[in-house]
Amino acid sequence: MSTPLACEVDTLIGVKWQKPPLVKRAWLRWTLIAGFAGYLVAAFLTIEVNWMRVYEGLDRGAAFVLAFTSPDFTSRAGDIWEGMVESVVMTVTASVVGIAISIPIGLGAARNIAPLPVYLACRGIVAISRALQEIIVAILLVAIFGFGPLAGFLTLSFATIGFLSKLLAEDIESMDRVQAEAIKASGARWTQWINYGVQPQVMPRLIGLSMYRIDINFRESAILGLVGAGGIGATLNTAFDRYEYDTAAAILILIIVVVMTLEYLSGIIRARVQ
C-alpha cells in the first residue's frame, strides 16, 4: 500500500507549488483581464473635460476654500442655530422612531427565527426602504407634507428602518444557534427565548449599528435641507444661494465637528458594550 503512494510523492518532490488560480481556464482568465483593462481605458477616454471651464472655475474654488480661513459664524448666527437645532431634533426623533420600528422588523426578517410569511413581509419592507434613496423619498415627502423638518424626520425614520433591520436580521442569522437552542430546551416561550437566547448575542452589534445610524442620520439631515426637508441643510443651501461662502464655511465646519464628535462617541460606546 505504501509503494504506490511513495511513487506519487516522488513525482511531486522538487516541483514548484502554486495556489490554483480563481479562473481555471487560462484563455478565459486572460480575456477577462484584458477586457477589463480595455474597458477602463475606453471609459476614461469618454469623460469630457473642458479645460477652459476648469480654469475659470479655479477662481470660484479658491474663493470657496479661502472662505474656510475666515468662517463667519456671527452674521447669520440666528439662522445657523435654528438650523442646527432642527437637524439635531430631526436626527434624534428619526433615530429613536426608526430604531424602535427596526427591531421587530429585524426579528421578522431573520430566517432562522421567523416563519416564512413573516420573513417575506419583513424582507419586503426592508427591500422597499433600501431601494428608495433618501433624496427621492425626501422629495416625495416634501411634496406631501410641505417644506420643513417633518418631511426630513419621516425620510430619516424610513431610511433607518431599511438600514438597521437588514443588518440586525443578518446578525441574528449568523448568531450561535446552540446558545439559543439551549434556552429553547428549557421550555422557554418565544419571547423569553428572544430575550435570553438571541438578544444577548446581538445586543453589542445593535448598539453599535444604532450609534452609526445616528451619525448617518445627522449627516443626511444636512443633505435633506437641499431638497427642502428642513434642518441645517436648508440654512447651508440658502448661504450658497446668496454666495455667502464664509457663512457656508462656518456651517460646514459645524457639521464636521458634530459628525466627528458623534464618531468619537460611538467609538467609545461600541468599545464599552463588547
Partner: protein, 263 residues
Amino acid sequence: MLRLKKLLKTYKTGDEALKSIDLEVPDGQVLALIGPSGAGKSTMIRCINRLVEPTSGEVWLDDTELTKLSSGALRQERRQMGMIFQEYALVERLTVMENVLSGRLGYVGFWRSFLRKFPQSDVDEAYRLLDRVGLLSMVDKRADELSGGQRQRVGICRALIQNPKLLLVDEPTASLDPKTSRQIMRLICELCAERGLAAIINIHDVALAQMFVSRVVGLRLGALEFDGAPQELTPDVLTTIYGEEDWEATIEKVEDDEEEQVA
C-alpha cells in the same frame, strides 16, 4: 420512564439519521450512548425533546406522548427534560446567575424573566446548585470569562434547576481535557444518583463511559447495535459498532483506570 417506539428521523437531504429506534430507560438509570460520529447520537437526543422533529415514531415520557404535542404542551414537557450540551451552550454575554436561572424560564412569566425578578426560591436553588458544583464565587461573572470545565458546571446547574426527571446530555466532555472530563462525568453521575434522575449521555469516549455508567447502548448508522452492561463491551462488540480496529488498548486502559480509582 422514557420509552422510544420506532423512532425514525430522515433529514430533508435524505439522510436516515435514525432507523426505527426502540429503547426504554427506567427511572433513575444512567445510560451511555456510544457510536461513531454521524451515527445519530445527537439526533436521537434532540428528537426526544423535539429540538429536532422526528419523522415518525413515538416518544413517551411517563404517560405523555411527546411527538404529537402542541407547542404550548411541548414547552410544559420540556421542563421535565434538562439538557447539557457539547460546547456548553451557555449564553456567553449573560452572567453565570442568569444562565442558571434561564433553566427556570419554563416556570416563570415573560415580564418576571425580562426584569430578572425570579422567585426567591429559584434564586436560592441556583445558589445551592452553584455551591454544589463549586462555583459560588462566580455568580456575577460573565459566562465567557469561565474555563471550559467551569462552563460545563454552569450548564449542569442550568439543566438541574429545571428540576427535571430526565437529563439529555450531548457529548459533555468533548471539548474538555481528560481530567476535567472525568470530573464532569463523575459530577453528572453523582447528581443523577442524588436526585434519582435518569440520563442519556452521548459520549464518544468509550473508556470514560465504561467508568461511570451502568448501561451502554451502541448506535451505528442510526440503528441500535448493542445494549448491555459496560463489561460486555468486548473488542467484537466495538468492531460491530465502530468498525475494524485494535480495541485491546481501549479496554485495557479502562481496567487500569478502575484500578487507579480503587487505589
